[in-house]
């Protein structure tokens, strides 16, 4: 069995009423996000980078990890689409000669991750991984691996899902649901007695799940777009593409805390889509 990893959670925007609650961001929050993100030329970066940076900044204010030992990984997705769209539109309209060069870096998918790394002062590494609904499993897998191999003491794993006019248009034309706006941060570090949550296992081999007795765990199954679960409260869903797994994990953790479900139960999340499969098992402390 892999070494359990301590999981600490944070959400996108600072709230006065509570600290770790799940929150879907409203587009009206954009100016607040840009202020919170505190990244250079925030308006060119768009909502995803601002939101991810806001999570990272919020996290950095309470962390004690040395900058060189903090890594950052985000899930992939079309978050840079608006920046690319704006760049192309401007260049077609007036010619490349008159495009603001500041518009160029945000056209990269990776800009979300590196902007957030700057906000968190994370110097170990910063990259984006995954492109589909399994992306956040890849994020947690890589984050855990980096901690276990001592590439970082702590890895801030950010789940991002945002919409904007370009994404809305693409979703509409493709007949796909528009993603919700959400940013969640899961910081993984070595196991600690004081943790509320632990990541026990993550992987892509279904047979491994048998190690965790059914009687001692809650389950949530996400298969081909529909969700079922055994945790005794409704889980919050929503189409969050690469961040979908994170939304469900955070939802289970929040429910567990708020409703005081029995301690030391495990929560297993499994995803299946066509021939792809992934799972993650958490201990709810």
């Amino acid at each position: 069995m892999p070494i359990p990893l301590r999981v600490s959670v944070t959400n996108g925007l600072p709230r006065r009423d509570s600290s770790d609650t799940f929150r879907v961001v409203d587009p009206l929050d954009d100016p607040v996000m840009e202020d919170n993100a505190s990244i250079r030329h925030a308006r060119y970066y768009g909502r995803a980078a601002c939101l991810a940076s806001s999570v990272a900044r919020q996290w950095s204010q309470r962390k004690s990890t040395r900058p060189g030992r903090l890594g950052l990984i985000c899930n992939g997705g079309p978050w840079s689409l608006q920046a690319s769209w704006d760049f192309v539109a401007r260049a077609r309209e007036v010619g490349a000669r008159y495009v603001n060069p500041l518009q160029f870096p945000p056209t990269l998918i990776s800009a979300t991750g590196t902007a957030a790394a700057t906000a968190a002062d994370a110097h170990a590494f910063a990259y984006v991984v995954g492109w589909d609904r399994f992306a956040f499993f890849d994020v947690l897998h890589r984050a855990g691996q980096a901690v276990r191999h001592h590439l970082a003491d702590e890895v801030l794993s950010i789940a991002i899902s945002t919409s904007n006019p370009a994404i809305s248009l693409a979703a509409k034309r493709a007949g796909l649901p528009e993603p919700v706006n959400v940013a969640l941060g899961f910081a993984l570090s070595e196991a600690s007695e004081n943790a509320d949550f632990w990541l026990l296992d993550i992987g892509y081999d279904e047979s491994v799940l048998a190690k965790y007795p059914l009687a001692q765990r809650y389950d949530a199954y996400y298969a081909n777009g529909s969700l079922s679960f055994t945790i005794p409260v409704p889980l919050v869903g929503g189409e969050a593409y690469g961040a979908t797994a994170a939304v469900l994990i955070m939802s289970a953790m929040t429910c567990h805390k708020a409703l005081q479900t029995p301690k030391n139960r495990d929560f297993a999340l499994t995803f299946r889509e066509e021939k792809h499969f992934a799972f993650a098992v958490f201990r709810l402390g």
């Binding site: 490349a96 160029f104 056209t107 800009a111 590196t114 890589r142 693409a170 796909l176």
Partner: protein, 374 residues
Amino acid sequence: MRPAVAALGAVTSLGKDWPTTWQALLRGARSSVLFADFDTPRSLHVPDEVPVSAIPELERSLTSDGCGAAGRLVRSVLEQITLPGLGVIRLYGASNHSETDILLCLSQNEAAPSSLWRALLIDAMPDSLSWNLGTWVYSACTSSSHALAAALLDFADGESQDAIVVSADALSSIAVAGFWRAQATTHKTCTPFQEQRDGILIGEGAAGLRLRPPSRTSDGQIHLLGIGMSCDAGHPTDPDPTGTWLEQAIYDAINWAGFSPQDLRGIVSHGTGTKKNDAIEASVYHRIWPNAEVPITSIKGAIGHTMGAAGLCNVLVAVEASRTGLLPPTVSNGSNSIEGIDLVRDSARQIEVGAPVLAVASGFGGNNFACIVG
């Protein structure tokens, strides 16, 4: 676990496979055409004078599922290195601006099929590969480097016994326009680490590398010995002027491999040909090797900056350099090299066969990566 490099594959402006590319690099060949001569959508009105390094006769049309030139490059490399083997092969991929062609197509064609719009939301290239086990990484010009790191760690964890790391980027109008507007493109010839260098030669290409467990006999195999990574976490485009974090990544790779700096025999640098990058990178090498003990080369004057594939291209060169004992030359314009480094230029340099060679990559957002093979 030090996985062995079992196969190399590439498509570059100098060759449709890795052996052709390697021989051309050793000869000091280079490939450069004007962007205007190149058959790509010109709707962004990039000026005609920007030189790029383009792959001749590359098919650039989009399929209805959004797979374009970059996707074709990936498939070509996979065909080169997916030899019959045992067990499950894991795929680790990386790219950068591959969605550009889709975006351009859609911005000009209101009646485009819905599958192209879908390809904007769910990256068309990895989605179309249909591998059972795949990891796709995005970190600008270190994308393929981080993909390699993921493969190495899975080997160390016993999660993989046979892996392919592959990366590709095709010429993107956004990238050409963006680098040109940032005044980072060369006007004529890209000459890394030389005093009269004036910028990047934007390129395209694909690289692939297959990793297998090391064989028990010493049969001339080259192994992945260590990696190091860091992030400047400072400026969106410019490297950290002190080079502190790049230096850290190099030392981490050296420590991982269990070497001292003096054990290395060659460096395949990031060496973009820009004033800032090369000055900072050279200063880092000078700090680590104050007497310029280790020869340094850059291939970006020859095949251009292949963006997301650039880090893996450097690793391929490092592997071949160690295997053959030859470091290819850096494209030169006759001006002096930056002081304090031993730049390989004019002709290939002999090094000890099987000796450890360092490959370095950096990217937008400040990511740095170092890898040692030997």
